[in-house]
Amino acid sequence: MPLTPTTTPPFLAVLVRGLFAGLIAGLLAGGFAYVAGEPHVEAAIAIEEAATHAEPATGAHDHGDALVSRTGQRGGLFLATGLFGAAMGGLLATAYVLLSRRRRAEDDGRSGLLLAGAALLGVVIVPFLKYPANPPAVGDPATINQRTVTYLLMVVLGLVAVWAGSLGYRSVGAQAPPWLRAAAAVGGFLLVTAVAYVVMPSFEEVPSTFPATLLWNFRLASLGTQVVLWTGIGLLFAALMHHERRRRAATALPGT
């Protein structure tokens, strides 16, 4: 007897939907960043320019003949968020397929949304609270390599924390009360996150003269950009997979 009327969709079909959902969500996130974030980027660059012009000319780097104009960089924002979104959507789709082999029930779109939520938590929120986004003029160029490596490590640790949360949830038996399972999930997640925050180095590189409100507004806009991106990926991917499943169900059962 057949297990289900529909088979799992092929990997490529899921991947294409993930890439597409990511591209569209990335462009939406770019729109949000353009409106909510660009004014703060401009303000920060004005501060940066003022600082470099006040200093004696070192000749280390020259902002005068920029490779890409500011207009080009504002347009490049959409290229960056679009491509980044497509990459994230593709990775989400890959994780979806690999994890779906363990899933017993037919997916009704919930697991796509759940996965996007887990990614938002592990890839964005956990790293952000340790290493928040910085506008231009904040950050010491001498530590860029260290900051990049520790940031990537923090993304990995964020995913480990989410995994520890799901492990905690599943380690408590299904017959246990829901609050206990939720507590085990939160406990596993917080344990890994707390250890990561303590172990990982901190960087105190905000110039004392940098306006605190500008820093706050920029960081809020940056976090908002990622929230729009992952919410968009989750919703679009779930909708596309739902549509795909209905299409396959319709072709699999032509008589009924």
Binding site: L67, A133, P135, A221
Partner: protein
Amino acid sequence: MSSSASSQPVVHPAGSTRLLWTALATVVVLALLTYLVAFDQGAVSRSGTYLHELMHDGRHLLGVPCH
């Protein structure tokens, strides 16, 4: 073997191995794309820092360390 095995080719070991390799290749390609957008300083793209500069604002607003 029952007849259901031939009518429902869902997941069998050979297809599973191929799926894992395809998934691995996909992850590598997408990781490279992410690197080009978010972290490249021109070393891999060999475009100098043109791409780096073009996607500069995106990097800051996506929260990736930039400079």
